[in-house]
Every structure is written in C-alpha cells, then in structure tokens.
C-alpha cells in the first residue's frame, strides 16, 4: 500500500510536468494544426538557461525566495523569446504550405536548438543546482514527499488553473478560441491572428520553461538531448487527452504520469515506453480523437 501511495505521489509529480509541456503542444496544435517538434528541445533549453542564470547571476549556494522567483521569471522570458522567434522564423513562412513541410521545419528547428545547447553547454550531463529548493522532506505515514514535489504539484496546478481561466474568461482567451475554430472568420471579426499565435507561443514556451526548470530540480541531471523524450511523452499525453483540447492535455499528462509510475513501480522499467505506447494505441483505437477530443465532422 505504501508503494502504491508513493507511486501515486511520484506519478502526479511527473504527470504535472508532462501536462505543462503538453499544454504547449496542444495550444500550438489547436491554433496552427502543427506538431511543434521543437517544443521538447525548448524544455531542455530552459533547464540549461536556468542553470546558467542561477550560477552566474546568483552564485551557488544561495537559496532565497527572490533568487528562485527571479530564475523562473528570467528563464521563462528568455525561452518565450526563443519560442516567438521560432514561430516567426521557422513556422510563419510555412503557414500556407503543405502541412508536412511545416513538420519538417519543426524537426529542423528542434535539431538547431538541441545542437545549439550542445555547442554552448557541452555534450556532457550537467548537474542542476540542488540548492534551488530547500531539501525539506516530509514523511507522511510510509510515504515520502519532497519540497520539490510539493512545489511542482502546487505551481503546476496553479498555472493550469490560471491558464484555464485565461482561456475561458478573458477577452484574449476568447480570441484564442476563436482563432482555433476558424482563422479566417476570426480575422474578419478583427482579431489579429499573428498576435494571437505569438501569444500562444509565449504562453506555451513559458510553461515549457517552468517544466524544464522543474525537470532540472527534480531529476538533477540534465543533458542536451533530453528534450526529445520528455517532449514525446508530453505529446503522447496531449494526444491521449485529445489534442487541441486544453483540459485534455492536463488530464492526459496526469494520466500518463500515473500510468508510468505504476508501470515502473510494479512491472518493469525496461518496458516502460512500450507500455506507454500500447496504452496510447489502445486509447486511439477506441477513441480516435483522444479521451476528451470531440468528434468533428469533416467538412467537404
């Protein structure tokens, strides 16, 4: 029972990281019908940017709330700028091109970011500073919860709730939903589509940056090519939930995190990815548009 509860805590932690990354995928997909294959590499980039910001500006060994908040803000801003540049340079020229051309462009952009990280920070694994969060540990019953886990769960849920209200309650959110449904009609209603897409990339990249920092703080070891695996898992989560659907990405992320934790805790770590994709394929066979995806009739 203790293992079970422990794996639930771990699963929810990983799951909220997947969900944060999945939101970036699903928002871009919802508006542009594009799988942003570079998003995972943005997540890896943010872990490295965070590392540099923390050690260069604040020096090692400093743990203060201000420093941590500053690292998060700084990284989010830098990565959001990279995300906007990415859209401007690699995706916008291809908006009217065949859809697969944009996919190749995204793959190319991912390669560029990944190798830029390798050239700047080197090919070896870097250790993320452990002091960024206090090493407090709570033992409740038989299960162990770290401060980092609480931070991850707390901040991710806060961000997701904020995003949900932003999308559903504000004027900008309404515009985003309008663009997702029909770009041309939205344009005719006076919505600046380019600006909306920029906002999407800012939000998606910033959420990815938060996830990247958390991945650094939680797993400690960061490598230049780690973005691919996190990105793929997050994308699988987005598809499980129903791509383009924001609550779907959150649900998919948490579900995948819990599922992964149960598989690695009870069955096998060697076959973890196999189980992930078998689950994905089973979900797709029975619900071709994901768990929360709606069935959209095809227009002729």
């Amino acid at each position: 029972m203790d293992i079970f509860l422990q794996q639930i805590v771990n699963g929810l932690t990983i799951g909220s990281l997947y969900a944060l990354v999945a939101l970036g995928y699903t928002m871009v997909y919802g508006v542009m019908r594009l799988i942003n294959f570079a998003h995972g590499d943005l997540v890896a980039l943010s872990a490295f940017v965070g590392l540099t910001v923390y050690t260069q500006i604040f020096g090692e060994g400093i743990t203060s709330l201000i420093a941590v908040v500053a690292v998060f803000m700084f990284t989010a801003v830098i990565v959001a700028v990279v995300g906007v540049l990415l859209e401007r340079l690699a995706y916008r020229p291809l908006r009217t091109a065949p859809r697969l051309s944009a996919v190749v462009s995204a793959l190319g952009a991912g390669l560029v970011i990944q190798n830029a990280v390798m050239l700047i920070w080197g090919p070896n694994m870097k250790i993320f500073p452990s002091e960024i969060f206090p090493s407090t540990i709570w033992a409740i019953g038989g299960i162990v919860v770290t401060f980092t886990q609480v931070m991850i769960l707390g901040l991710s849920s806060a961000l997701m709730v904020a995003l949900y209200f932003f999308i559903n309650r504000t004027k900008m959110g309404t515009a985003i939903r309008a663009v997702a449904i029909d770009q041309d009609a939205a344009k005719l209603m006076g919505i600046n589509v380019n600006r909306i897409i920029m906002v999407i990339f800012i939000i998606g990249s910033a959420l990815g940056a938060v996830a990247g920092l958390f991945i650094g703080a939680y797993y400690r070891g960061i490598t230049f090519d780690m973005g691919w695996m996190y990105g793929l898992n997050a994308f699988v989560a987005a598809i499980m939930g129903g791509i383009g659907n924001i609550p779907g990405a959150m649900l998919g992320g948490l579900l995948l995190g819990l599922f992964n934790a149960m598989i690695t805790g009870y069955i096998s770590t060697q076959w973890a990815e196999t189980f992930t994709f078998v689950l994905l394929i089973v979900i797709l066979v029975f619900r071709p548009t994901g768990i929360l995806g709606e069935k959209v009739a095809e227009k002729v």
Binding site: V104, G110, E273
Partner: protein
C-alpha cells in the same frame, strides 16, 4: 525521344554504375549505403508521398528485414539467400497487423502511433527477447552471399547487389505507378473525399501501400545487414525514421529524382562534412528549415498535372 530528365537519369545511371572504379573502400561503403537508403526512402515514399499516410516509424520495417536475416543466418544457420524471402514477408505481415487497426486515424495521430511502434520495436531489440535479438549490442558475424560456389564478399559485390536492389525497387515503383494501385493513389492524393465518393477504398489502398512499403524496406534491411555483417538497434531507431521521413519531404514527395536528391542530402552530405562533427547538425537543421521555406514541396517536386499523361493517351 530523350527529354532532359531521361538524359540526367541516364547520366546518373552510368555514373552510379562506374562509381566503384573511382573511389576508395570507405567511399564505396558510403555509396552502397546510399543505394540501400535510397531503396528505403522509396519505400517510405510509397507510404508517405503516394498514399499520404503520415508514417514516422519506417526504420522499424528496415530493421525487421535486417534482424530477420541476421537471426535466421546466425542463430539458425540459414544461408543468406534463403533469408531474403522471410526478410520481406515478415515486415509485410507486421505492417498488416500493426497498421490495420490504426490506418484510419487522422494524420498526426498516425504520426505518433508509428513513432510508438518504432520505439516498441527498439525496446524489443534492446531487451533481447527470447535471447534472439542480442540486446543493445545486436548480432555480429552475419554471413556473405554464396551462390554456385562464388562468394560475394568484397565491397564491390555489395555495391552492385545494392545497385540491383535499387533497380528492382524502381521497377516495382514504376509498375505500381502504372497500375490500378497507382491511379487510385493519384486520386487519393488529389482529394481523399472525392476519391472515396468515386468508390476507391481509402483504407484498402493505404494499407496496401503500407504493406508494400514495409516489404521493400525489409529487403533493403536484409541487404544492409549483409553489407555490415552486423546489426544493432541504434541503426533502426526513431532518429533514422525521422531521417527517412525528412528525405522524402526535403527531396519532394512522390518524385523519383526528389527522393534520390533527398537521400543524397540527408545521408551523403553529412558523411562529406564528417570533420565538422559538432556543428554539422546545427547547420543541417537550419538547412531543413530553409529548404522548406524556399521550396515547400521539396527540392525536386513532382509535377502533378490535372490528369496523368498515361490517361490522356489518344485523347485530344
């Protein structure tokens, strides 16, 4: 009548035919692998370019062919020639079983599902299932082709075997193009819904393309395993699949010269720039973005008239 394209094709054919005479063994091996990868790229093109199935796991079928030859030869002592048929048929069978339930999915879902198949395939290889696949190191010591007492061992033989394989693949592509299958593919590519309303079974033809593509990739895989006399999982991972996927789109989907150019750019050029080990993939990514921006349909896109010329015969 010779037009410009056939002249270029003839020149290329002559060049490729005499290529082994001019180069050292390292470049000869690159040439052989180029031919093998072109075959895989053509089979990817049948699935992605012609049938329009978003397929990003093609290295799996390539790997299945290679591992079939390796396992049958090393563990069961079959001669290489005898493993050729199973190394084509096994990928085809897997393509049927795996793609059957998901072929109707929307493009991007299919993309991730096929990546998933590829990842599962790699885990099966790495976890050494039934002690057959040799784990992360793969399988060593694959035999050479022996026929009538001749041992086809040298790299030059390998090159010409791959050359013949490419010829066979091109012959199959041409026949597919001119058959009922090719016409169905053409219309599905033009407009899926219209094709469906004309009574073309999209599901049947997409699955057909998937299975044929898997079989050709399997044959290439068998050749690949013989060329290197070893197989290992990392030669067939998702990165390789992405390469085949990109080859088709960078070159120009459904275009024969396009796919060859794509293979050249994505495989041979990185070999040429091997000395710039660290920076080359950065430049590579930039080149992929630029190519797509400047030529969204690929470097040598296929010219799709409204009606294919072989249907216009005798019609004014």
């Amino acid at each position: 009548m010779m037009n410009k394209t056939s002249l270029i094709a003839l020149a290329l054919l002559v060049f490729m035919g005499f290529y082994p005479l001019f180069v050292d063994s390292a470049w000869l091996a690159v040439g052989t692998t180029f031919l093998v990868f072109s075959v895989v790229a053509f089979s990817q093109d049948i699935i992605l370019g012609r049938a329009g199935v978003f397929h990003m796991g093609h290295a799996m079928f390539f790997g299945m062919g290679a591992y079939t030859t390796a396992i049958l030869n090393v563990h069961f002592g079959w001669p290489i020639l005898a493993t050729w048929a199973p190394s084509v048929l096994i990928p085809m069978a897997f393509a049927f079983v795996l793609a059957g339930p998901i072929i109707h999915l929307r493009g991007d879902y299919l993309l991730v599902a096929t990546i998933g198949f590829n990842i599962i395939f790699i885990q099966v290889l790495e976890n050494d299932v039934f002690g057959l696949t040799g784990g992360p190191n793969g399988i060593f010591g694959i035999d050479i082709v022996r026929l009538f007492g001749i041992e086809f061992a040298s790299q030059t033989y390998m090159y010409y075997m791959a050359f013949i394989l490419l010829g066979i693949a091109l012959f199959i592509m041409r026949n597919l193009d001119k058959s009922k299958f090719g016409r169905a593919m053409f219309y599905i590519n033009k407009d899926e819904i219209a094709a469906q309303s004309m009574g073309i079974s999209i599901r049947y033809y997409k699955l057909y393309a998937f299975i044929v593509g898997a079989g050709i990739a399997g044959a290439a895989g068998s050749m690949f395993s013989v060329q290197y006399s070893a197989v290992s999982p990392e030669a067939f991972n998702v990165t390789q699949s992405i390469m085949f996927f990109t080859i088709v789109l960078v070159g120009g989907s459904a275009s024969l010269p396009g796919v060859l150019i794509g293979t050249f750019i994505m495989f041979v050029l990185p070999e040429v720039f091997r000395e710039f080990e660290t920076a080359r993939y950065l430049v590579f990514g930039l080149a992929m973005i630029l190519t797509m921006i400047l030529r969204p349909r690929g470097i040598w896109p296929v010219k799709f008239g409204d009606i294919p010329s072989y249907l216009k015969k005798g019609v004014k």
